[in-house]
């Protein structure tokens, strides 16, 4: 890999051990993916919940936090993905003081590095969306796929360590989605049944992700003639990334790199149809009508302010079943707005617990499930029902309205 003078200085340790580690880490990853050089980034976004970090990960970052300030501060604006513990509400969930302490230690370390604790996976809706052609180093697959596809920004999936490295060096290895050749379509899908509400979008994204099945596959999609809302395409991308490890898609006539099929090289690909049968097959993997529900979860991605309003409107004047808990996860900035606008109060009157700065699957899902006796989980997120099977849950999928009605009745309606 070609390094400039500043990058060589970082690698040699002239700018401290944190940047030396970061550059070495980036060199290892860059070599594996044949990066020729580094590319400056305008932002970094780090996924780092304490369940994933463990004591080892927290201690690793704490070592950097103890360095002199010039050696430890990140060099570009750097923000965080959801946390694992909402420090204003963890005991009621069955989370332990040890979990909260690990979270507190990590937050303190991040703050010493100059990282802004935004604690959100919807930064593209709440903080500062990247712009077309913007090179960024984002974590959270939902953030990356939205930023690449909808905004036309350029990011690989940057796991927590690599996002941290990018924050410390202000750059990332130039490979994968930073290069034009990896942004060309490799699979072409024709949608026969355009999605309507959020869960439909998630299911369609899941089907395409499952079919694409690789980080290096780029789907181009035809058959969607009306621009979706930000929330709809958020669920679409998050599910696609979850089922397929897919970091980029194009929708002809909708996303900025695909004004037409030819622009992304899709005209040379055979079209694969996605019909109602494909969508039904995916839904059939999850629980059905009449099944009891222990917990209903609205998360993954965190709810936007518009989703908070939608959910509050559906819940208004109703009450959940005594045996069914309801969890709502949103960003701290959205939580504050929702508090001011009364949405939180409406959700709490329904019996929901509204969490800020966390996302259900990132907050010790196995442990809180065991602590609360939650096994049968219902959500309108196609992403979260894909993740939680490995955590011991029996997940089911339904629309937002059906989730609320099911929470009210205590079983899937």
């Amino acid at each position: 890999m070609h390094l400039n003078d500043e990058e060589r200085a970082m690698l040699a340790g002239a700018m401290g051990p944190a940047r030396q580690w970061a550059m070495d880490h980036q060199m290892q990853v860059g070599r594996m993916f044949d990066a020729a050089d580094m590319v400056p980034v305008s932002q970094a976004h780090m996924m780092a919940d304490p369940e994933s970090l463990g004591d080892a990960g927290v201690s690793f970052v704490e070592a950097f936090a103890g360095l002199p300030e010039p050696e430890r501060r990140v060099r570009v604006p750097m923000i965080t993905d959801p946390r694992g513990v909402d420090l204003s509400c963890y005991d009621p969930l069955g989370q332990t003081e040890a979990m909260a302490d690990l979270e507190r230690r990590f937050i303190a370390a991040c703050q010493a590095l100059g990282i802004m604790m935004t604690d959100t996976c919807i930064n593209y809706q709440t903080i500062m969306p990247p712009v077309f052609g913007d090179h960024v180093a984002y974590g959270d697959t939902g953030v990356v796929i939205y930023s690449n596809s909808v905004c036309g920004a350029r990011s690989n999936f940057e796991g927590g360590p690599s996002a941290l490295a990018a924050g410390l060096t202000g750059r990332t290895p130039r490979y994968g989605l930073h290069l034009d050749r990896h942004r060309r379509a490799t699979r072409r899908f024709l949608v026969e049944t355009p999605p309507v509400e959020l869960t439909d979008w998630g299911v369609l994204g899941a089907v395409i992700g499952r079919k694409a099945g690789s980080y290096w596959a780029v789907p181009v999609i035809e058959g969607i003639d009306t621009a979706p809302t930000s929330d709809q395409i958020k669920h679409f991308g998050a599910a696609m990334a979850s089922y397929g490890s897919t970091p980029l898609f194009h929708i002809v006539g909708v996303t900025p790199e695909a004004p037409d099929l030819k622009a992304v090289g899709g005209d040379g690909l055979a079209a694969e149809r996605i019909g109602a049968d494909d969508l039904a097959a995916l839904r059939a993997d999850f629980g059905g009508e009449g099944d009891k529900v222990d917990v209903v979860v609205f998360a993954a991605p965190q709810l936007s302010l518009v989703e908070m309003r939608q959910l509050a409107a559906i819940c208004a004047g109703r009450r959940r079943h005594a045996d069914t808990d309801v969890i709502v996860c949103t960003a701290p900035s959205v939580y504050a707005d929702a508090e001011r606008m009364g949405f939180n109060a409406t959700l709490q009157a329904f019996g929901a617990t509204v969490l800020q700065g966390t996302c259900f699957y990132q907050q010790y899902a196995r442990e809180i499930g065991e602590a609360n006796g939650w096994t049968r989980l219902l959500s309108n997120s196609a992403k979260i029902v894909n993740i939680l099977g490995g955590y011991g849950y029996k997940p089911a999928l339904a629309s937002m309205a059906a989730c609320v009605a099911s929470a009210e009745k205590g079983e899937i309606v």
Binding site: V29, M47, S52, E158, G159, S162, G213, G392
Partner: protein, 136 residues
């Protein structure tokens, strides 16, 4: 007679161990009970099997970014695979291998690695050289 497989140069140290192979994908968050050290996702081809100290041989990575921290955390507790071999790694698993100093390779010249290395085979992984040796 040992058999050598060529692959793209990878990450991590030279290691030797016993292969655990499946034509399935991998995510530390989606698929594992990291406390018990087993594959926990019921639908996974290796469900119920221990991955501790194995050379995992799988198709590709899937899902989210958590695996990048999780490989490091698993190795720190001593309940981790020795290496992971993929047909195609994604960026997250490579980043996790770099932090954890875990051996990882992909892109095998002879085809589908999940058909080339059977479960139980003794293998040595040389990431820097881009080669894997299957012992007799």
């Amino acid at each position: 007679m040992p058999r050598e497989l060529k692959c793209h140069p990878g990450i991590g140290p030279t290691v030797a161990g016993e292969a655990l192979t499946a034509a399935d994908n991998f995510s530390a968050r989606y698929d594992l009970d990291r406390i018990k050290g087993i594959f926990s996702r019921p639908q996974h081809a290796l469900a119920g099997q221990s991955y501790k100290d194995k050379i995992l041989v799988l198709n590709t990575a899937k899902g989210g970014v958590a695996s990048a921290w999780m490989l490091h955390e698993m190795k720190a507790r001593g309940i981790a695979p020795k290496a992971i071999l993929f047909n195609a790694a994604n960026t997250i698993l490579a980043q996790g291998a770099a932090l954890a100093d875990m051996a990882m390779c992909d892109r095998f010249e002879d085809g589908d690695v999940t058909t080339l290395i059977p479960t139980g085979a003794r293998v040595t992984v040389y990431p820097a050289e881009g080669r894997v040796v299957i012992e007799d």
